[in-house]
Amino acid sequence: MKKQTSFSQFSNNSFFYWSLLVLFGGIILIGLLAVHQMEHHGHHITGMSQQIVWGLPHVFAIFLIVAASGALNISSMSSVFNRTHYKPLSRLSAMLSICLLAGGLAVLVLDLGRPDRLIVAMTHYNFKSIFAWNIILYNGFFAIVFVYIWMMMEQKMNKFSKLAGFFAFLWRLILTTGTGSIFGFLFAREAYDAAIMGPMFVIMSFSFGLAFFMLVMGLLYKLDGRQIGDYVFNKLRKLLGVFIAAVLYFVIVKHLTNLYAAEHTDMEYFMLFGDNIYTQLFWYGQVLLGGLLPLIMLYGPLCKKSRLTGYLAAFLVVLGGLIQIYVIVIGGQAYPLVLFPGMEVTSSFFDGTINSYIPSKYEIALGVSGVAITLLAIVFASRILPVAADNLSDEYVNPHFKKK
């Protein structure tokens, strides 16, 4: 019979552990210095322009925000879908989702032209704007998931945790649909303007969030010398494979639909068969590195039993996810706006030209610091709160466990 799960804070004090914290702190500091430079001199020091208005910081921010709602999924599996073997992971999953959102939002806010006006964004709402709705959804996510974690951790409130989990799950579905709709509602741009963006972002969140969770879980448990059994790891591994395949499915449907419509054909040829960086990133980065290769690594007969290939596959999903969002955000803007369909358009304002973008060191620093904020926050949170199960070996997780 399976043993009862207990939770406790991580208490690692090794040199490596503290070095990691210093590293994350250092990256965050460099990110803040980059923001200072961007705000002091203006955004002209970045690679962004009047053509590419959202750059690398947005790529990182959107990735982290999308992964945030996905990381909560493991928790939802246990509370909403009664998959009890995920219960020992549910606290860590919920806490990581908050940390990911914090990292993503920090980057998003610090890349604003006027980050000092954050209070304006919190007090002035245009309810017709999906962006404004997202601000409400992000703030609500923090509040709901905090309450959910509290209900999971406070014994007296345990009975409400299922309800809170269900509410958090619904909220996260709406949130990610909202994030995808930021692009879906942009009818002016050929690469966006598609209802599928909302649900596609939801499925992307499942994949990116789970991959990020696996890596963080692996790192934290390794550092503290705690065990992760094959049972739970294989469950996560198989689930990640399903999500990767689902993302590929959505990507295929989106591009096929666009290829069918004559008005989008030029843009699709630019994205899929063009002589540009986005085509290469799409095929080699998003599809091969972030999709097919991890699938083989997770399901292939030779490597499916290896823990290392599992983590490597998760890492590739994270990398491929970043590339996918880069292709969506930057590639979508690189393709010029269509002022006169079918005509050749030129101007001193780069109308009709494929826009170029090279991220500056400031944007790279800010984007990477978002990941560092997430990691520092989860390491800190798991040190002060009992969010991680003491043992994830099969005898604690597998409901059908029998001693041999």
Binding site: S49, G113, R114, P115, V120, F187, V345, T346, S348, D351
Partner: protein, 239 residues
């Protein structure tokens, strides 16, 4: 020293407050003609004169609003620009100025999270620089690429057209002139055009010059298929 009783204190305080505040209120009232729901300001541009011009409208606009180049074409603002359009099959070429089209259903206003992008009742689409957070979502949404983000530190601005680093800006249809002179106003681009190719006026007034010309000659909107109903109309868009 005389002691101030309560009644005198209230009286003097009220008087002082009134003397300080009233001139301000009065001045504001005198200057602000304000937008009128009866009007829909618009522009009609005859592009047949644009091909060989010397960009006088662009120079005038940028001078009026102190929009200066920093010799960084990728990040410099261009409130109005000359676009050349060529039909690939026939090689027929034409040119036209493009600025904010002051749409009836502006995408920039819909997407702005704080309401900084707004449309006045007379149809002019503006940015409230006090509450623009510089998120650039309006730039993503505008089909005309009419919006600009201020990438630089600014100096020597014109008081009639304040700008701000880190915020978004676009053509204001010279709203300061319209608020002063109403239907008699001329926009800076209109005034500068040597061929009188730009007409400004009230699209809602059937007797205005712009409405009469539209009735007689017709005109087209750019990307009319998007159904945004822009207030900037073009003649000679025959491709």
């Amino acid at each position: 020293m005389n002691k101030l009783n309560r009644r005198e204190f209230i009286k003097k305080t009220t008087n002082t407050a009134a003397i300080s505040i009233l001139p301000g209120v009065f001045l504001q009232t005198v200057n602000a003609k304000g937008a009128d729901v009866k009007n829909r300001w618009g522009m009609l541009i005859d592009t047949r004169g644009c091909g060989d011009c010397k960009n006088e409208c662009i120079t005038a606009c940028h001078s009026e609003h102190a929009v200066k180049s920093f010799d960084r074409p990728q990040t410099d603002s261009q409130w109005i620009r000359k676009v050349t359009v060529k039909n690939r099959k026939t090689s027929h070429t034409m040119a036209l100025p493009i600025m904010c089209q002051h749409c009836e259903k502006p995408a920039c206003v819909d997407v702005c999270p704080t309401g900084a992008s707004f449309k006045r009742v007379d149809g002019i689409v503006l940015v409230d620089r006090h509450i623009c957070i510089g998120c650039r979502y309006c730039m993503m949404a505008c089909p005309y690429k009419a919006r600009n983000f201020v990438h630089e530190n600014l100096s020597e601005q014109n008081t009639i057209s304040p700008r701000g680093k880190g915020t978004v800006e676009a053509c204001t249809m010279c709203v300061h002139r319209i608020d002063k002179d109403g239907a008699k106003a001329k926009t800076a681009c209109q005034q500068a055009c040597p061929k009188n190719s730009i007409i400004f006026g009230d699209l809602n007034d059937k007797n205005s010059g712009i409405s009469k010309k539209l009735k007689a000659m017709g005109a087209r909107q750019i990307r009319a298929d998007l159904n945004l109903n822009p207030a900037v109309l073009y003649q000679g868009l025959d491709l």
